[in-house]
Symmetry: C2
Subunit: 95 residues, 2 copies
């Protein structure tokens, strides 16, 4: 079983509608996860917050935000240009 794999509990928020990520996280908690990390970069960091908030407010009110980490990541494009983007990691735990 791969249930113990760390990355199983990470939701990477991308360009799809928020609700898909909300339901992905909900599924992980329903399947027994005690902690899920919602991650995003750049402008999608705003969506990551919304995903965490909708999950808590609408589906799992017992969830706690254990920690929120912000940071900066460097992306190197194909032509070697380096750009920096902000990132967020939201640690949600079921108590």
């Amino acid at each position: 079983m791969t249930e113990e794999k760390k990355d199983d509990n990470v939701i990477y928020v991308g360009k799809k509608p928020s609700m898909g990520y909300v339901l992905a996280a909900l599924t992980q908690f329903t399947n027994g996860a005690k902690e899920v990390v919602v991650k995003a970069r750049g402008k999608l960091t705003a969506k990551a917050i919304t995903v965490a908030e909708v999950l808590r407010n609408r589906y799992l009110p017992e969830l706690k935000v254990k920690d929120v980490k912000i940071g900066t990541e460097e992306l190197t494009s194909e032509d070697g240009k380096v750009s920096r983007v902000s990132s967020i990691e939201i640690y949600l735990v079921k108590e």
Copy 2:
């Protein structure tokens, strides 16, 4: 003097370019603030993270992120319609 007022140490991130908010926070620390809170709502939450990160990476590497709070706020428009937006508060401290 109004220096003791709590709101003096809050930066509300809006639609203007990020650098203005970075410099506003930098000015507060330069004027002796030990803590500055960067706040934003909705899509601007992503910009608030960038403001905090640029401030730390480019100007004040000794700054620590003491806490990051995420939440949801209800906005009531003039026609009485209630909408919910995500919010962020980033607590930066000079050590």
